[in-house]
């Protein structure tokens, strides 16, 4: 018997977010998975065709509705719930988009949600981190019960492209509320790689001391390495870096090849965000800093001296 899985695509109206390809890989771990992806948009055609190209996708549902111009949870949830009938598993990414939306879908379906799925062991058995990643729990759903889940994107490789799934235009037969209205989004424009998908990340902490020092010290190094820039909560709270740069339990969970933590102590909540980094480098003047317990390469010293030297050597 095949398992029918529905994935909710994340996108910005024009481009599919890479988190969706990771959800496809997660779903493909279910034996005999038959994967359908729903694209809800004002005009879903562009994103639907990018989705159809993902390997492993059997079918794309294109849900056009002017109300979907901005992906608001209250607007999307009834549409996804209306589509969810035939599916045993409904997945979205564990990004702010999916975290906002999926529990609302789960409640409408009267089902439980499994957040931050890091491994699928069978159609009803999952593994997920709790306590900021300090424990991993195995969660089992009742056989036959519908389950909603969010996918911890750092745990999965993106599905490849080259597929050609059929695209079906599907009407959204749901009552759409008007009580929630989009006003604006201010996205920090940057030419640097995206933090969530970058293979290299240079990250700064409280030690940088000011927004100017954060920029002057880290951006040159990041550019030399072709790296994205991240930050600790302390650096964001102090205004050295914008909130979208925060890495950790309550920021972004990332899995780059190389993570360079500069002037970051390595609090549990920060480490949660970098557990899946392939190589962690730490530069910190305190040899006792907890970051050195997880660093593959540690360098004890003053960052204001080391970073410029490093930049010159690259």
């Amino acid at each position: 018997m095949s398992h029918r899985i529905l994935i909710v695509a994340e996108h910005d109206g024009a481009r599919l977010n890479p988190s969706t390809a990771k959800c496809v890989s997660c779903a493909a771990a279910v034996p005999d998975a038959e994967i359908t992806v729903a694209v809800c948009a004002a005009d879903a055609s562009a994103v639907a065709s990018q989705t159809a190209a993902l390997k492993g996708v059997a079918r794309v549902l294109a849900v056009d509705n002017p109300a979907n111009a901005h992906l608001l949870a209250a607007v999307l949830a009834p549409q996804i719930a209306a589509l969810a009938g035939p599916f045993s598993l409904v997945l979205g990414p564990s990004t702010t988009f999916g975290k906002d939306l999926m529990p609302r879908v789960a409640a409408l379906l009267d089902t439980a949600q499994i957040s931050d799925i890091m491994a699928i062991e069978s159609a009803t058995r999952f593994r997920r981190p709790i306590y900021a990643g300090n424990a991993i729990v195995t969660v089992e759903a009742e056989p036959g019960a519908k389950v909603v889940g969010t996918v911890r994107t750092a745990s999965f490789q993106a599905a490849g492209t080259g597929g050609s799934a059929p695209i079906e235009k599907t009407p959204a037969s749901a009552q759409i509320p008007s009580h929630t209205r989009f006003v604006s989004v201010s996205a920090g424009k940057t030419d640097r790689p995206d933090l969530q998908t970058a293979s290299r990340v240079v990250s700064g902490g409280r030690a940088l001391g000011s927004a100017e020092a954060f920029r002057q010290t880290l951006y040159g190094l990041a550019d030399r390495l072709g790296a994205a820039v991240g930050a600790s909560r302390a650096a964001v709270d102090a205004g050295y870096a914008p909130n979208e740069m925060q890495v950790g339990q309550t920021g972004k969970i990332i899995a780059p090849e190389l993570y360079i933590a500069i002037g970051i102590s390595g609090a549990i909540q920060h480490l949660t965000g970098i557990k899946d980094a392939r190589t962690i480098v730490a530069i910190n003047k305190d040899s006792e800093a907890p970051i050195f317990e997880v660093a593959d390469i540690g360098l004890v010293g003053d960052l204001f001296q080391i970073v410029p030297e490093l930049e010159k050597l690259l």
């Binding site: 975290k99 439980a112 957040s115 981190p129 201010s186 964001v236 309550t250 090849e257 660093a295």
Partner: protein, 257 residues
């Protein structure tokens, strides 16, 4: 009465080093410091500030859990909440059960705003607020870093909220009709410290205990938690003495060419 309901979970304090039980049956919580979930303190602080600005008249805190969570409710009363509701429940309370219970409290209390944390730092679920909003058929503004209510200055009943949210792309602003559900992110505010005299005063504030069953909510557990494990440990790394050695180490790992 213009009322705000704040939802509080008792959790293992964020400074505690978490240990998994050797028999894989759970995480050690005996003899461990317990606190108000940090995001819920932020939720309460926001409610108190709204009240202090004159836009709300009463702040009610509610918690679902064992008798011990009355300690955290007392802390919230000491912070400045007017009244507390404790819904007695032992064992696992899944987010959907919490949301159903909170919906019953919402029907009783008729708040114009319900504020929750964006996630409880024990299970890291990040579900309850969104589920409550769905069941209540009201707006949700999750991961809030700024909350503004209209009509605050006129002293009337606020009808709209403008909420700035921390999203992956940056900051998003939504306008929602009230009543609505808001969940807090870390940068919404900095919670106040509790002062000693307030702890004494809090002892006299009303704390009502309710049974889950009396609210007509069934404590269903739909997901079984079958095994707890510590996370895989990273291999201990090496130390280098300067930038040049760092570059050499990165090259030897194939990370630089």
């Amino acid at each position: 009465m213009r009322r705000i309901l704040v939802c509080i979970k008792r959790v293992v304090d964020y400074n505690v080093r978490i240990r998994v039980k050797p028999d894989a049956s759970g995480v050690v919580t005996e003899g461990v410091k317990m606190s108000v979930n940090p995001f819920d303190e932020i939720a309460l602080e926001e409610a108190l500030r709204i009240k202090e600005r004159g836009a709300a008249e009463e702040v009610v805190v509610a918690s679902i859990g064992p008798a011990d969570c009355q300690q955290q409710l007392r802390t919230c009363l000491a912070m400045g909440a007017d009244r507390a509701l404790h819904v007695q429940a032992d064992g696992v309370v899944e987010p959907l059960v919490a949301a159903r219970t909170l919906l019953e409290l919402v029907k009783r209390e008729q708040p114009f705003l319900v504020i929750l944390g964006k996630q409880a730092i024990d299970d890291d679920n990040s579900q309850t607020g969104q589920m409550l909003a769905a069941l209540w058929e009201r707006p949700q503004a999750t991961f809030a870093s700024k909350v503004e209510l209209d009509g605050e200055t006129s002293g009337g009943q606020p009808r709209l909220a403008r909420v700035t949210r921390e999203v992956d792309a940056g900051l998003e602003t939504l306008e929602v009709d009230l009543p609505a559900v808001v969940t807090t992110d870390l940068r919404l505010n900095e919670p106040r410290y509790v002062k000693l005299p307030d702890i004494m005063k809090a002892k006299k504030k009303p704390l009502e205990t309710l049974a889950l069953a009396s609210l007509g909510v069934e404590q269903k557990q739909r997901l079984k938690l079958t095994r707890f494990e510590p996370p895989p440990q990273r291999q201990k790394g090496i130390k280098v003495k300067d930038a040049a050695e760092l570059v050499a180490a990165l090259k030897s790992k194939g990370l630089l060419s």
